[in-house]
């Protein structure tokens, strides 16, 4: 039985918080301080004093400068025709949708601005047009620049009064002293036109969630029969893979496939027997029922 003290108060119970040693930290205050400090730190680091802008990559460029960068890509393509390099550079720009169609759209935009006020700008847009037209795309620049191609009618200038024929020079022309050296007949060694056994006869795209980002290759004879055991090589920016037809007999003796990675470009060829295809870009696509997938391709090789 506890007794009251001199003031008449009872001592606190043993389990009372007044009997426990007090924590030196107020956890509630600590958490409040932490939240306020974190918010202030982030606001300072992101808004008031962000890190200096460095290591900017092309995808971070403004629309106008990105257009300039794309023009530079197609300018190089116009010289060396390296489609793989151009497509890889476009992919690095992280353009939304089909990167080659994006070139067409940007060319369209440039063709409506003062960018084409000078020959350099017109030439740059033309290289963009050549680039995307060769890949089967179209844009409004095709019509805008084509319209400006109409020849300007030249002003007719009345012929001036005919001038008199100049008098003959008084200095006689010396007779030719040297005799012409006979030119040796040029010997041209005929070269054999490179032959390839197979040619790419068909490329089709399809969009499927089940077969997302697949290159389906078929190597066939002229009559459509499959050719099993044929090597097929797929190349991309930093690698390649070789595989053979007929290893999935349920899909046919002429069939082989390859799984692509998103946002990469690939070329396909019959190993040593065909030219490489145009780059097949593993871009995003939407199926008929609205599913998101990566574009897949069906390519067919037959004797060329």
């Amino acid at each position: 039985m506890t007794r009251p003290d001199a003031s008449g108060n009872l001592p606190p119970d043993r389990s009372s918080k007044y009997r426990r040693p007090r924590s030196p930290i107020s956890w509630a205050a600590l958490i409040i301080g932490l939240i306020i400090g974190l918010s202030a730190g982030l606001a300072y680091a992101w808004l008031l004093n962000p890190v200096e802008e460095y290591d900017t990559e092309p995808w971070q460029l403004s629309d106008q400068d990105r257009a300039n960068y794309i023009a530079a890509i197609t300018l190089q393509y116009s010289y060396d025709g390296d489609l793989n390099l151009a497509v890889n550079r476009l992919l690095a720009l992280r353009l939304t949708g089909d990167p080659i169609q994006s070139v067409a759209d940007i060319a369209c935009r440039l063709a409506t601005t003062s960018y084409v006020d000078n020959n350099s700008g017109i030439h740059a847009v033309r290289t963009m047009m050549t680039f995307y037209q060769l890949q089967g795309r179209a844009g409004c620049a095709d019509t805008l620049l084509a319209a400006s191609d109409q020849p300007t009618p030249l002003p007719t200038i009345e012929a001036a009064t005919p001038t008199l024929r100049p008098p003959a020079t008084k200095t006689p022309t010396p007779p030719a002293q040297s005799q012409a050296t006979p030119t040796l007949p040029a010997v041209i060694i005929p070269t054999i036109r490179p032959q390839t056994a197979y040619a790419l006869v068909d490329v089709r795209t399809f969009c499927s969630v089940e077969f997302s980002g697949v290159i389906e290759v078929r190597v066939q004879r002229s009559n459509g029969d499959g050719v099993p055991g044929t090597g097929v090589r797929v190349r991309w920016n930093d690698g390649e893979s070789t595989f053979f037809t007929g290893l999935k007999p349920e899909r046919g003796s002429d069939y082989a496939d390859f799984q692509m990675e998103a946002a990469k470009a690939y070329t396909v060829e019959v190993l040593g027997q065909s030219d490489p295809s145009q780059p097949l870009v593993a871009g995003p696509c939407t199926t008929d029922i609205g599913g998101q997938a990566i574009t897949s391709y069906r390519v067919t090789f037959r004797p060329g």
Binding site: R22, P24, I25, S26, W27, A28, A29, L30, I31, I32, G33, L34, I35, I36, G37, L38, S39, A40, G41, L42, A43, Y44, A45, W46, P50, V51, E53, Y54, D55, T56, E57, P58, Q60, L61, S62, D63, D65, N68, Y69, A71, A72, I73, L75, Q76, S78, Y79, D80, R89, N118, N119, S120, H123, A124, T127
Partner: protein, 127 residues
């Protein structure tokens, strides 16, 4: 009361340090809509090579000059010379070097170190 303010001070300090670390190091602010002048050197070089190849295609030195001016360099010929010599010194891709040397030559900045790579001329100037 002292306990309360002490705790809030400790929390503030820890939170501030954590916020600065996250905001500056772990998740720094990523810029978009950046000007081409802020490109990292690697991509400025790549852009210069592309413009050099474009010059080889069309022979338009003025156009190449205008396109390179976007990079914000005050002296374009000196800049092209610097990039070209750096490519040669670092044994970069021979094709890229040949493009740059052609542009440097067009800009009147052909130096002895570039001579061995002088293989290409603009298509329009070829006989």
């Amino acid at each position: 009361m002292l306990r309360f303010f002490l705790s809030i001070f400790v929390g503030l300090t820890l939170g501030l340090a954590l916020g600065l670390y996250l905001g500056w190091v772990q998740f720094p602010r990523q810029y978009i809509n950046s000007p081409i002048t802020s490109l990292t050197e690697r991509f400025k070089d790549e852009y210069t090579v592309m413009i050099a190849a474009g010059y080889l295609a069309d022979g338009d030195l003025g156009g190449a000059f205008d396109r390179l001016r976007l990079l914000g360099q005050s002296n374009i010929p000196a800049y092209v010379q610097t990039v070209t010599e750096r490519y040669i010194t670092n044994s970069r891709d021979a094709r890229d070097i040949a493009y740059l040397v052609a542009l440097a030559e067009g800009l009147g900045r052909l130096t002895p170190i570039m001579e061995p790579y002088r293989q290409l001329r603009p298509l329009e100037q070829q006989p």
